[in-house]
């Protein structure tokens, strides 16, 4: 497989230093476990060192700053003053909005807390483009899950500009590095309906999976570790867009969940993790007012209620003699006479006459 450098700079033969001017880049961590930063640090080719020193003018990454306090956050203000409209903003994590965003403070500015909400809105408005790294920033993720006490939101919902979503829990190093490099050198990559770069999220896992033939022929793993299709134990591959089966993980190209014998949990999906849980069930739980039920259980309950309803109606029909009457009617030749049809002028007239007579007798 060719590495990212060779794909992005075929002309430079992989020598990054020969290429264009480095774009300033700020990476803010909001409500996040920092998994995306850690994953990003594992980028293999180009590696983190090359990204920071050669590819980008990497100004701020909360996770690896040598400085601290005002010394570190002043870098943000300097960027805003020197390079407005020129820097790339990457946000990792959801943005809590409750109490004006006080549930996530990313530093101090002039002795006052600088909330994630303030920072994302301020830097987001001034950035050349905004990238949401990881599922939390892209779609909300665990921090915005029910009941969401901090009223957390994905980045796109606190900004009124387009955001490039690069989801994943964590994001694959090549997805985020590739998107950033594409932005710097070729502009915005082609995006799908959820604003994800098609180069990485263009096809479902299921359609690229090595175990797909087991799916088609109906050979299913009964438990994790079995070497067959993991559909039965809840694989979300059919509804998940990502290139894990071909790109793979662990410093790239080594393995991925299904290859390791566990079902895909759909970590790049909007609604992850709630709408993908329980991970080992085919369909997720559904929140109804007051109760949470698995979708398949709803199916079983509906089937039971329907069977009881029809069975009950039929039994009552037999006991009340209506069924036998119907059978007799079907076997005998029709009688003569008239019948009155409801919701018609005749029925209307009759009910009026009846009402008038009733009123008369009352008088």
């Amino acid at each position: 497989m060719r590495n990212l450098k060779q794909i992005c700079w075929p002309g430079a033969g992989g020598d990054l230093s020969k290429e264009k001017k480095r774009l300033p880049l700020i990476w803010l961590g909001t409500n996040t476990c920092d998994g995306d930063s850690i994953s990003f640090l594992n980028s293999a080719d180009p590696n983190f060192m090359e990204i920071v020193t050669v590819l980008f003018d990497f100004r701020y990454l909360h996770f690896v700053m040598a400085a601290q306090g005002d010394m570190s956050t002043s870098v943000l203000d300097d960027t805003l003053a020197q390079d407005p409209g020129n820097f790339i903003l990457v946000v990792e994590g959801t943005v809590p909005t409750r109490n004006n965003g006080l549930y996530c403070v990313i530093g101090t500015r002039g002795g006052k807390p600088l909330t994630a909400l303030e920072a994302v809105q301020e830097f987001g408005a001034a950035a050349r483009c905004v990238v949401a790294a990881g599922t939390c920033a892209a779609f909300g993720g665990p921090y915005a899950a029910h009941p969401n006490p901090s009223e957390s939101k994905p980045v796109s919902e606190v900004l009124d500009r387009a955001v490039i979503n690069v989801p994943g829990c964590p994001v694959h190093p090549a997805w985020i590095a590739g998107t950033l490099i594409h932005l710097a050198w070729y502009g915005e990559p082609e995006l799908d309906d959820f604003h994800r770069p098609l180069i990485f999220y263009g096809e479902t896992i299921h359609n690229m999976c090595q175990r797909r033939h087991y799916f088609d022929s109906g050979i299913f793993a009964a438990q994790p570790g079995d070497p067959w299709c993991t559909y039965r134990i809840g694989c979300k591959g059919p509804v998940t867009f990502a290139d894990c089966p071909s790109r793979q993980w662990n410093s790239e190209h080594v393995s991925w969940p299904v290859k390791a014998g566990t079902p895909c949990i759909g970590c790049v999906n909007p609604g992850f993790p709630e709408r993908d849980m329980p991970f080992f069930k085919h369909l997720p739980d559904v929140n109804l007012p007051g109760v949470t039920v698995n979708a398949n259980r709803i199916g079983a309950i509906a089937a039971t209620v329907t069977a009881l309803g029809i069975g009950g109606h039929f039994t009552a029909g037999v006991l009340k003699g209506r069924m036998s009457k119907k059978i007799r009617k079907a076997l005998h030749p029709p009688g003569t006479g008239f019948e009155l049809l409801e919701t018609t002028p005749a029925a209307e007239l009759l009910s009026r006459i009846r009402k008038a007579l009733l009123d008369k007798t009352k008088e």
Binding site: S217, G218, P270, H313, A330, P334, E339, T343
Partner: protein
């Protein structure tokens, strides 16, 4: 002009009466096998290790994907026909039907012996057609998003992703299956004469 046997709401018993015309009967018999195979194959896709009706996932999915075209075709044809002939007026409840619903429910709950008769569909049937009119397109939209994951991705946006779309498709299927079971129960037990009319178009009020 076929004899519809309905003079302002008075109907003569014992006379062969026209009920369903040919296009409606044809459409109904395109829908029925398509919907039943969608249900059977859909249930298999939901739990493929049950080994019931289909040999494997490939067979079930092929059946589902074949039937979906007939189902979609039916929906388009029926929608066009309902609008062109203004048949939707007979299909969905009007204020008279709503007013008559308690009376009909009392009969169906065995609290009233006399069966109320209606020009064509009873209020409960009309209510059922409302559900069909909502659930059919819902199944088509969610099913299309699941079918053509790439090109029709925009269809899964309102549901918040393909996973949710699949859950909605499943729940829609559950609702539809319950309603169809009810529809079939009533169709088979209400009146043998009316049951005949979906095959040959005519029934005889008795």
């Amino acid at each position: 002009m076929r004899f519809r046997n309905n003079l302002l709401g008075i109907r003569i018993k014992g006379v062969k009466t026209f009920r369903h015309n040919r296009p409606l009967r044809v459409m109904h018999w395109v829908l029925a096998p398509a919907a039943l195979s969608l249900m059977a194959s859909g249930l298999y896709i939901n739990k493929p290790y049950r080994n019931f009706l289909f040999k494997n996932m490939n067979d079930a999915r092929k059946t589902h994907f074949m039937a979906q075209y007939f189902f979609g075709l039916y929906f388009l044809a029926r929608g066009y026909y309902a609008i062109k002939t203004r048949g939707y007026r007979k299909l969905f409840p009007n204020s008279g039907d709503i007013a008559s619903l308690p009376k009909f429910s009392l009969y169906e709950l065995y609290l009233n012996k006399k069966q109320p008769k209606y020009p064509k569909y009873n209020p409960l049937q009309k209510l059922l057609f409302i559900f069909f009119a909502v659930l059919f397109p819902l199944q088509i939209v969610t099913g299309s998003a699941l079918y053509s994951t790439g090109r029709l991705q925009f269809l899964s946006r309102p549901f918040g992703g393909l996973g949710n779309t699949r859950t909605v498709h499943y729940l829609g299927a559950v609702g539809l299956m319950s309603l169809v079971a009810g529809h079939m129960y009533f169709a088979l037990t209400e009146s043998f004469s009316k049951l005949k009319s979906i095959f040959n178009g005519y029934f005889t009020p008795k």
